[in-house]
């Protein structure tokens, strides 16, 4: 199984029936493909609607119905459209149960950096700062390293998106939870070891006594 698929699939297992979820651009978007059967997850698109559906068939794109990345999507039965202030009221007001985002860096305190690399890449924060602060649960879906270098750090060096807001990190190597008592490795992928994870993780983490195997 592809790394990205593994991550997306694991994230999707975390949702509960009825959850309202915002998926970021890129790998987080894949999560929608793995929502477990029997569970209804309501996708919020921060450009202004809930109950986002899948990508339309070719030729059936509607330029008025696009996601936060400007790409054509569809809406499901029971959808509702609204304006941007309402959309971010939903986000900041705690009405989104979980947001899934990518990361450039994250640290053991739950600090997240995912919106700029000074002097190099300044795309802007878009809605990420509001999402990370407002969603009840912040889940990072990310590859464990960038070109072999750790992305899960003791302390982020890039400009932050938000402070101490990350709750969970899912990588191809495992699942971490960040708690006031420290960062825990809760699950480990079947094809790795704690030692291997330690080698590519700068952050200090505690291995859960009941460490589980991350299912594919």
């Amino acid at each position: 199984m592809d790394i990205r698929e593994r991550i997306a699939k694991r994230v999707a297992k975390d949702f509960e029936d009825g959850d309202i979820v915002n998926l970021g651009i890129g790998m987080p978007t894949l999560v929608a493909n793995y929502i477990p059967e029997g569970i209804e997850v309501i996708l919020q698109s921060e450009n202004g609607f809930v109950r986002m559906g899948p990508v339309p068939e070719e030729g059936k794109e509607d330029p008025d119905v696009v996601n936060a990345g400007g790409l054509p999507v569809t809406v499901l039965e029971g959808a509702a459209y609204f304006d941007s202030a309402t959309s971010f009221g939903i986000i900041r007001g705690g009405h989104v149960d979980a947001t899934v985002l990518g990361a450039l860096q994250v640290d053991q305190e739950g600090n997240l950096a995912n919106w700029m690399i000074p002097g190099k890449l300044v795309p802007g924060m878009g809605g990420a700062m509001d999402l990370v602060v407002g969603a009840k649960k912040v889940i990072l879906a990310m590859e464990h390293t960038a070109k072999g270098k750790p992305k899960i750090l003791k302390s982020c060096s890039l400009p932050l998106t938000a402070k101490k807001e990350v709750d969970m990190i899912v990588t191809e190597m495992g699942v971490f939870e960040i708690t006031p008592g420290g960062m825990y490795l809760r699950e480990i992928a079947p094809d790795t070891t704690v030692e291997k994870i330690q080698e590519v993780t700068e952050a200090e983490f505690i291995v859960d006594e009941n460490l589980k195997v991350m299912e594919d």
């Binding site: 202004g48 941007s84 300044v122 932050l160």
Partner: protein
């Protein structure tokens, strides 16, 4: 007096140096006819307030590429490499604003509020130069209202009294910008008779709209 005017008449309010708000999410909801008119008119040194600069040949992106923007407030510029290049070369003065904060600042500008407190951006570069306040152990930034001289908006259906209805995800920043500028010009995708939009479903009341231009 009819609010329906020619493109030329409407755009006479946008001069070199005018502060302009233009809605749209990667082009969706952007008034393309008005933007094309601005490109044609080639007014310079605009102060533009928008959520993203789309792509080089889409919507707001055209104004960037054509070198008409001196100052920019936006939440995301990553999809238009020209914006980043011109920012790095000192040609455009860019201020990046979290998208929810941007929507709320514009709403505040239109609603006569002197500012508001948001948790978004606390602990990030966004807090620089801003007053911080804490209540019940939670920190907030004091954000100020935003207004413009001219707002160029885009309605799916517009009646001759200026009542506007937006389709799907095109609503985004339109409703807020319509309240927060001295002159509001709406591009009507479809110009309809008064009464064709149910008064209950009007999304921007005509009292906010000064001029209507039939879009192409």
């Amino acid at each position: 007096m009819s609010k329906v005017v020619s493109l030329e008449e409407a755009l006479k309010f946008v001069k070199d140096g005018t502060t302009v708000m233009i809605p749209g999410f990667m082009g969706a909801g952007t008034p393309e006819t008005l933007v094309d008119g601005l490109v044609e008119k080639n007014v310079k040194d605009l102060f533009l307030i928008c959520t993203d600069t789309a792509r080089p040949n889409v919507g707001i992106g055209k104004l960037i590429v054509n070198g008409q923007i001196k100052k920019l407030y936006a939440s995301h510029i990553g999809t238009n490499p020209e914006t980043g290049r011109m920012m790095n070369e000192g040609l455009i003065d860019v201020t990046l604003i979290p998208q929810g904060t941007l929507a709320e600042r514009i709403r505040a500008g239109g609603a006569g509020l002197g500012g508001f407190l948001t948790p978004t951006g606390v602990g990030t570069v966004v807090e620089e130069g801003k007053q911080k306040m804490a209540f019940d152990g939670k920190e907030y930034l004091l954000e100020m209202p935003l207004r413009a001289e001219v707002a160029l908006i885009r309605g799916t259906k517009v009646d001759k009294k200026g009542n506007v209805w937006y389709n799907a995800a095109t609503r985004n920043f339109n409703t807020h910008m319509a309240t927060a500028a001295d002159i509001v010009i709406v591009e009507a995708r479809e110009l309809v008779e008064v009464g064709e939009i149910d008064p209950n479903n009007v999304m921007t009341p005509g009292i906010f709209v000064d001029y209507i231009v039939k879009g192409e």
